[in-house]
């Protein structure tokens, strides 16, 4: 094990962290507006993965695959909002959380029934890794990381530079103040669920291209995404992204010592430590509980 192996792991972790940042961002956005940790987030990712896979099968184009994934993710999120979450949105956290578990199960079941449980791989051309001494980088990883960064930049541009983003942040900050200021909550909600769905869908497509798509893939992404969002401070979009990238690199660097199976556990342990030391997350100010 020399330094190059560690650099390789770190690069891989960086890409994984970027991919993980997308569902973590979706989770934290929904938490900010709807005030519950959405356990169906992972399954939106899986739906997006299959959407991207189907689009890629039909057209062979990677761009259309990304669009297909985004569309499928958005459809999954909006459908879930209209049919399941909206009717109970004013009820308790537990109602919303159990509903989100239910939504996740329904999507996973639908994916299993429609596509079967065999993992599916994107039909991608094999590429030689670029080598710099002992450090090697896959060209596909670079383009997927670039795509992910582009999506993140787009989401943050919407959040911080548009009127829509301003109203989203206002609702997240203080729902009552936002309402009396004349911000239409329903419209913002729709925009936010769409955005979360698009982000998840692209995450599904990207992680599907790096590995495989299968119905349970989303569930396996859920705990790391939770961990990343909690580490960054639930409801804090920037924190979620930084948390995910930190976690991605840390997980990969720890793999040689802990073994592959405990990868998920590392995120969990870091989350628990953060909850003990700084429960509001690394990047949040102390807030009043509402």
């Amino acid at each position: 094990m020399n330094y190059a192996d560690f650099i390789n792991l770190a690069i891989n972790g960086l890409v994984e962290g970027l991919v993980m940042a997308l569902p973590a961002l979706a989770l934290t956005l929904i938490y900010g507006l709807a005030r519950f940790p959405n356990a169906a987030t992972g399954d939106f990712v899986a739906v997006g993965g299959f959407g991207g896979f189907a689009a890629h099968q039909l057209t062979g184009s990677l761009i259309i695959a990304g669009l297909g994934g985004a569309a499928a993710g958005a459809a999954a999120a909006l459908l879930a909002y209209w049919l399941a979450f909206r009717p109970v949105i004013r009820r308790s956290v537990i109602t919303l959380m159990l509903t989100s578990i239910g939504v996740g199960f329904v999507y996973r079941s639908a994916l299993g029934l429609a596509f079967g449980h065999e993992p599916k791989a994107f039909d991608m051309p094999l590429q030689r890794a670029m080598r710099f001494g002992d450090v090697s980088i896959l060209p596909a990883d670079i383009s997927l990381a670039a795509l992910t960064i582009a999506v993140l930049v787009a989401v943050f541009a919407i959040l911080f530079w548009t009127p829509l983003g301003r109203s989203l942040r206002a609702i997240a900050d203080d729902p009552d103040l936002a309402r009396v200021s004349g911000i239409r909550k329903e419209r913002s909600m729709l925009a936010m669920w769409t955005m979360a769905g698009v982000v998840c869908g692209i995450a599904g497509t990207v992680s599907g291209m790096r590995t495989v798509v299968y119905p349970d893939s989303g569930w396996n992404l859920l705990l790391p995404a939770f961990a990343a969002a909690v580490i960054g401070g639930l409801g804090n979009p920037v924190g979620a992204v930084i948390g995910a990238i930190l976690l991605g690199v840390l997980q990969e660097l720890a793999t040689p010592f802990t073994g592959f199976v405990y990868k998920i556990a590392i995120g969990y342990v870091v989350m628990v430590i953060v909850l003990l030391v700084r429960p509001q997350g690394l990047f949040n100010r102390v807030q009043q509980v509402r």
Partner: protein
């Protein structure tokens, strides 16, 4: 046929214990435990390993299973219970997944995915296997009766009123000078102990345990059971467990009747039904099948 009925009775009994555990935590105290399967697994593996590797009598291994599951609940309570309710859900869900990872990975102890075979039956030395199955059922029923009696006393006591007050208005309890996190941690441990006990019964009845028996779906089966049976009523736990077994057995029956359906498809269908039940009940009947409105 009566072997089948016996199996059903034992499974109902184990689900009743799990439902009582979750009902104590969620129904009476308002704790969102999404990691019940983890405590269940710890109980099952603890008792199996203690009887097989250390040669302990089940008389000691069952309490040990309950105690270890309770002890594991303590740090979880320390971490999560001073925070908002939903953090407990995330932390417990993670806990149950980590338990499963440990069971898969630490093969020197748990045999990994191959699982532990040949867990001794209760009272195996005294007679034929039939006897030991009835003996286990008898002990299980006895245990359920004791747990129900205990919980009835507990929930009617001043302590019980405190935990229900925490569920209804945590701030009010704090104002009265009681620290809710302390009570919540105790309830989390007590519920963990009951789930661990259920796990011990499960291990010694099945005699073969693998990590896959303790997936998060099991946790949400029990959530489904207590929501359908009605939360915060001990009878609801029993009703819910019975409905749950009707459901799981019904699905198995259907798989036998409908030709050309694969196990994977049936598994997906089962998952989807659990999901739909959770969504529909939370929306339309959060008080359960037989509950009256306004109870929740």
């Amino acid at each position: 046929m009566d072997t089948y009925l016996l199996t059903i009775a034992v499974i109902v009994g184990i689900y009743v214990l799990l439902s009582l555990s979750l009902d104590l935590q969620y129904g009476f105290t308002g704790l969102i435990n999404f990691g019940l399967a983890g405590f269940f697994a710890v109980g099952a593996y603890t008792s199996a390993l203690l009887t097989m590797r250390a040669g302990l009598s089940p008389l000691l291994s069952f309490p040990a299973a309950a105690i270890l599951a309770a002890l594991l609940a303590w740090p979880i309570g320390r971490v999560a219970l001073r925070l908002r309710d939903d953090y407990l859900a995330i932390v417990t869900l993670g806990f149950s997944e980590i338990v499963r990872l440990v069971l898969v990975q630490e093969q020197w102890l748990t045999e990994g995915v191959r699982g532990i075979a040949g867990v001794p039956r209760l009272g195996a030395g005294w007679g034929n296997p039939r006897f030991s199955e009835f003996f286990l059922l008898g002990m299980l029923v006895l245990c359920i009766v004791l747990v129900i009696l205990f919980l009835r006393r507990l929930t009617a006591s001043p302590y019980g009123r405190t935990i229900q007050a925490i569920r209804d208005d945590e701030t009010a309890v704090r104002v009265l000078g009681k620290e809710p996190a302390v009570f919540k941690t105790q309830i989390l441990m007590l519920g963990g102990a009951i789930a661990g006990l259920a796990g011990a019964f499960y291990a010694h009845y099945m005699t073969y345990i693998v990590p896959d028996l303790f997936v998060p779906l099991v946790t949400f089966y029990i959530w489904m059971a207590i929501i359908m049976g009605g939360v915060a009523r001990l009878s609801g736990a029993i009703v819910g467990a019975v409905i749950l077994v009707f459901f799981t057995e019904g699905v198995r029956f259907l798989r036998g009747v409908i030709p050309g359906v694969s196990d994977a498809h049936m598994g997906s269908l089962q998952l989807g039904i659990v999901g739909l039940v959770l969504i529909l009940f939370m929306r339309w009947r959060p008080q359960g099948v037989f509950g009256s409105r306004g109870a929740t």
